[in-house]
Symmetry: C2
DNA sequence: CAGAGCAGCTAAACCGGTTTATTGAACAAG
DNA sequence: CTTGTTCAATAAACCGGTTTAGCTGCTCTG
């Protein structure tokens, strides 16, 4: 009578067939007559029976679950809009599938044990690798554990796992070009912690765009994706001997903290300083001034990665996947550099794209051709 | 040779005992001689064997996992620092235990199906209920599914499940008193979506503290915990016929958006308007002006709730648990009301607690006696 | 010194599915 | 009227643990 009580044997008895027949009917395997199948399924529905995934997991030697190991200190995790959105994407893909998501949050030094534990206990059929590093030790680990995996962005060219990627560069390139077009020549970058491929991508895009425009290398400060780190990086830049007229941050959180740090120093944004973020946090449109930033479809990223992992775990081949690249969202935190420091920017007001206000329909600027 | 290959039978054979003996030895059950047990465990260690949790799950009829169903739209989820911190707390407690965390993110209308699915598939041994509503339909549902559960904050007095609670009221009461002491008489509240117990608690604390001070009821606007909602609620209050001199928000995100909305209207914080948030998001200390807000130990909350659920799932009784209440953190977004609108606040500068700057050592103000 | 009691261990059933080997019936071909 | 195929369905083995019932040999008791 109780929900979990009914087993395949009950259904078999009620339908007047064997356990095997029920299993075959349910899994749409040949060897069951059409009307028998119909009768079995009807009986199952009447009894409200669904196969126990624990039993299935044991007999099929699959866990029917995917794993996500998150190795970030809680503070950074709490500040980052990436994970909730990413997990929402995973779940959107998992709903209706037979898979569940097993989450494991570990301290960075316990990261490998996190994966080992998932494998040892047979908890998952595959894992999603986020925060991929350029020389990521998890790749050989997972290879040795022979656990299917999908990486978010490609770790190394030699990685044996399919990568599902979002290209951050177009948005950063567009941001730097936008600033250059406005007349900026001193464009600094507040990067994320070294080693991460997306951090490298953003930094490289910034540096190369400056170089391509014939500008000298800008100031580079390494942040840690935290508000505090963003604030102190900003103070360091503003208090330094060569104050930049624009800062491109590797994350919105750092940029928003930078906004406050600038204001504290009496530096007006965007009059004295232009600021660009990255992520398009929901808050970005609702700070003052509204933040020019880069947007990527993180939910879609989660979906695509999960889909790829499902294919991989079912033994099918899975090529790399490229999601749509990040796009620059123009708002109000960027403008021409201050006149007293620079010759007035060639005023090409007509050229400048219209800004959106605090409305939620910011204008997208496509990635450069 | 491969990691997952070794079974209990291999260990039994190698140790020269039966499967049952190995199982007994591993689970520290009587009936195995001390030296035999030692030999078995040594053999297991040598072979690198650990029991397959899938098999254990089937034979013990337990899932060895807890569930967390999150029913929030992705945007709200992405803005909220609560979940990452809470999950970090759960995991901190789960590490080293035999339990894993199964996450399920669903759309609010699919919430019940989320729980049903977890139960039907036998995925979890219990669930944690967050975002508890005053008349929460999940309580009878889980009761009918006979699934152990722990609620974060008490839903109804009649709820059959243990509640692990953090009292938000002391911090809100302290905030409102603090504003009253500064001389404010028009203190508005931007609440969260109706129905949630924590939303009600915060709103009630605000209203009652005003009443207790003999002040007329303040303006109340219902927000939705989103930045956009916070901004529009703020605009509504500032543009209304009776502009408040202080606003207490039910979340930092709404408060931070409120800061920008105020600035947009030319309203200076804290000169023209005092602002109080709730959550102490890492960003709160790094906006301008640094946000006076309430802080609770969400990680500790997650730990306590998980501990309670583990006890409950193992059949032991579990009373309600009270975690330390939220505390008011004074920063720079509150100050005396503008003179032109109010008689100057009784200047009791000496009385006013020292503010902390953008430093990360804000001063706590204990909950009122 | 037989029989009770018990510690220490084994064999086998069991959890609830999936999967393989096998049987039975229907039907076509020889 | 056999014989050979094919399709439908079943019985039983299996996944890898846990758990119960039972067996052995030893000690203790009367």
């Amino acid at each position: 009578m109780r929900s979990g009580r009914i087993t395949i044997a009950d259904v078999a008895r009620a339908a007047g067939v064997s356990k095997g027949a029920v299993s075959f009917a349910l899994n749409e395997r040949p060897g069951v007559a059409v009307d028998t199948r119909k009768r079995i399924l009807q009986t199952a529905a009447d009894l409200g029976w669904a196969p126990n995934q624990r039993a299935r997991a044991l007999s099929t030697s699959r866990a029917l679950a995917f794993g996500l190991v998150v190795a970030r200190p809680p503070e950074i995790l709490a500040e980052d809009a990436f994970f909730p959105a990413f997990i929402a994407g995973i779940e959107a893909e998992l709903v209706g599938s037979e898979y569940a998501l097993v989450l494991q949050v570990v301290t960075p030094d316990q990261e490998h044990n996190g994966y080992r534990r998932l494998v040892r206990d047979g908890r998952v059929d595959g894992v999603l690798l986020t925060d991929v590093r350029t020389d990521d030790s998890r790749i050989p680990l997972l290879q040795s554990l022979s656990l299917p995996a999908v990486t978010l962005n490609r770790a190394q060219p030699t990685s044996p796992f399919p990568a599902v990627s979002i290209d951050d560069k177009p948005a950063v390139i567009a941001a730097v070009r936008h600033l250059i077009d406005l007349g900026h020549r001193d464009i600094a970058h507040v990067a994320g912690p070294s080693g991460y491929v997306h951090v490298v991508a953003r930094r490289t895009a910034w540096a190369e765009t400056l170089a391509a425009a014939g500008l000298p290398p800008g100031s580079l400060v390494q942040g840690d994706f935290s508000a505090r780190g963003g604030a102190s990086a900003t103070r360091w830049l503003l208090d330094g001997p060569h104050r930049p007229t624009a800062i491109v941050y590797a994350s919105d959180i750092m940029a928003i903290a930078g906004l406050a740090a600038a204001r504290e120093r009496g530096v007006d944004v965007p009059r004295d300083l232009s600021v660009v973020g990255f992520d398009d946090t929901p808050l970005a449109a609702h700070v003052h001034p509204a933040l020019t930033t880069a947007r990527a479809d993180v939910v879609g990223w989660g979906r695509a990665a999960t889909r790829a992992l499902a294919r991989l775990a079912s033994g099918r081949a899975q090529p790399d996947v490229d999601c749509p690249p990040a796009e620059l969202i123009l708002r109000h935190s960027t403008g021409p550099p201050p006149r007293r420091r620079r010759a007035a920017a060639k005023r090409t007001a007509a050229e400048r794209p219209t800004r959106t206000g605090l409305s939620d329909r910011p204008q997208k600027q496509g990635s450069p051709a």
